[in-house]
């Protein structure tokens, strides 16, 4: 059984088609990176899979069940790009992570020992056990991202979907991130990761899917950076990137690229 199947999905925002006829399949235990430039549609693809963006056409299946009928959302752990906007009232790291347990625990049931243990283990896994009582707003960007991973892990998911988890995150946190994902996979988990750059995550990736202009341009091994991006002195900075223009794709199709 596949963990995730996407067949011929198209998505449009306000009349503009963002994804055209996208198909994708993720098997149990795989770690798949979804790569592409800003505006390529890679985030839209995972947001559609999660049901946050409606698909215009096509089919999506999670764990063999059509997305529309899928109810076991506790099996899916979602790590968004940024901590939620709702922050008018302080919340501790422990409280945010515990909210990730709710999918498994249910809305009306009181937390049991297993729930508290799962929250504690998740905090421990990302190295924030000693910060559980601190307000999230006092954490660094990297630590906030680790809080979001811990929130997803607290629900003990089978599939983790991460949307650019390492964007703007310091090197230490990126390394901690890679270790956490490695342990998750050793427990049998499946990972789908949207990324702009892979950094320390690269050795963990089984397969890369490149989204370009709303279509899947490549599905296979991690493609080598093309053009001037491949140069040894290239420090990969986009001071004024124009995301939707052609030619600024970091993962431009090369001779190894299969076109769909």
């Amino acid at each position: 059984m596949t963990v995730l199947t996407v067949r011929h999905v198209a998505v449009a925002y306000g009349g503009r088609t963002v994804l055209h006829d996208v198909s994708l399949r993720v098997d149990p235990g795989e770690m798949v990176a979804i790569l592409g430039a800003n505006g390529s549609g890679k985030s839209t693809l995972v947001r559609t899979v999660l049901g946050l963006v409606p698909a215009q056409s096509g089919e999506i299946e999670l764990f063999g069940v059509a997305q529309r009928r899928f109810r076991q959302w506790a099996r899916v752990g979602y790590v968004p790009q940024r901590i939620g906007a709702g922050s008018g009232v302080p919340a501790t790291v422990g409280e945010v992570v515990a909210s990730g347990r709710l999918a498994r625990r249910g809305v009306l049931r009181l937390p049991r020992r297993a729930d508290r243990d799962a929250v504690r283990d998740a905090l421990h896994d990302v190295g924030l056990a000693d910060r559980a009582g601190d307000p999230v707003s006092t954490l660094s960007g990297g630590q906030q991202q680790r809080t979001l991973i811990a929130r997803a892990l607290a629900g003990e998911p089978d599939l983790l979907i991460l949307d650019e988890p390492t964007a703007g995150v310091d090197a230490d946190s990126q390394q901690a991130f890679a270790e956490t994902l490695h342990r998750f996979r050793q427990r049998g988990g499946t990972v789908v990761l949207v990324a702009h750059e892979l950094g320390p995550l690269e050795p963990l990736i089984d397969r890369a899917v490149v989204v370009h202009g709303g279509r899947i341009a490549h599905d296979g091994p991690i493609p080598q950076p093309a053009g001037h991006h491949a140069g040894p002195g290239h420090d990969h900075v986009h001071p004024h990137a124009m995301p939707e223009r052609q030619g600024i794709c970091d993962w431009a199709p090369s001779e190894r690229t299969r076109t769909f």
Partner: protein, 296 residues
């Protein structure tokens, strides 16, 4: 104290204490969502409900609950679709609600500006036994919902998208929050009045935040501040012969200012202590001039 030998004072105190607890409990979620002013908008709509009640010669509390709940659900549906900005939707509520209320109250028989004032600014001491029963039942329901559903409501208010992906009934919880706001506004209109309802939802939360670090502690502290302000406000208003609703709100604001100043002083002295501690080695070395040390 002799004050509470009067039945109307006991009723006033009971009503105030219930609102003092329920309004900040709900308000914690509204502030977290940055919807601090929604209570005000719903309060304006409730005035139209009061007008309907007076016009039909029915209980204004019941018609106000119905009209305010309809308004709150409408705002939530607009917000969910994200088409009109929340700002504009609130403005429509403010003006439509208050204009409708003033017109309808004016059309009703035997009512005057005095009855309008009673609902706009509260009329705690004229609260009847029947009113107290309604306030108690609805207040208990609001409190129970806010406390029992705290994990789920926290998840939705903290990160709505994540809550949706978790499979939580986000829409139901949002509508529950909207209806609860309407109910709280309506039962609080006897205590503090429709124009000051929002203050009791927001000010205790703002005050609590000055000294708390987490969501649960903020909610608990806000309820405590609401309770104390309500009790002290009723007593003080009787002693000073002031309007109870406004007195309660002023006291909550005093707590806010006090805690803000206290927290600032605490941070300042904390910083100074740290600085002194860091400066300690230099302080110890200074009694002996360097040359003495060198020769010794």
């Amino acid at each position: 104290m002799d004050l509470f030998e009067y039945a109307f004072m006991l009723r006033a105190l009971t009503g105030a204490l219930i609102i003092g607890l329920a309004a900040p409990a709900l308000g914690t979620y509204l502030v977290q969502r940055r919807l601090s002013l929604i209570g005000d908008g719903i309060g304006h709509v409730a005035l139209t409900g009061v007008g309907v009640g007076l016009l039909l010669e029915r209980s204004p509390v019941i018609t106000a609950v119905i009209v305010a709940a309809a308004g709150a659900v409408g705002v939530e549906l607009v917000r969910e679709r994200g088409r009109t900005s929340g700002d504009l939707a609130l403005a429509m509520l403010f003006y439509g609600g208050i204009a409708g209320g003033v017109v309808l109250v004016g059309l009703s028989h035997g009512s005057s500006n005095a009855s309008l004032i009673q609902y706009l600014f509260g009329s705690l001491t004229t609260t009847s036994d029947a009113d107290i029963v309604v306030i108690s039942v609805l207040g208990a329901a609001v409190l129970a919902a806010m406390l029992l559903l705290r994990p789920a409501l926290f998840a939705v208010c903290n990160d709505e998208e994540y809550a949706r992906v978790s499979g939580l009934p986000v829409r139901t919880l949002n509508l529950l929050l909207a209806v609860t706001t309407a109910v709280t506004v309506t039962i609080a209109m006897r205590t503090v009045g429709l124009l000051l309802v929002s203050a009791l939802m927001v000010v205790p939360v703002a005050a609590a935040q000055q000294i708390t670090r987490g969501f649960r502690t903020t909610m608990t502290a806000a309820m405590l501040i609401g309770l104390v302000s309500a009790a002290a406000g009723v007593v003080a208003s009787a002693e000073l012969d002031t309007a109870p609703g406004a007195t309660i709100v002023i006291l909550a604001l005093v707590v806010f200012v006090g805690l803000t100043a206290g927290a600032a002083a605490w941070r300042l002295t904390g910083a100074r202590t740290r600085r002194t501690r860091n400066a300690e080695p230099a302080g110890l070395a200074s009694p002996e001039p360097p040359d003495v040390v060198l020769h010794g």
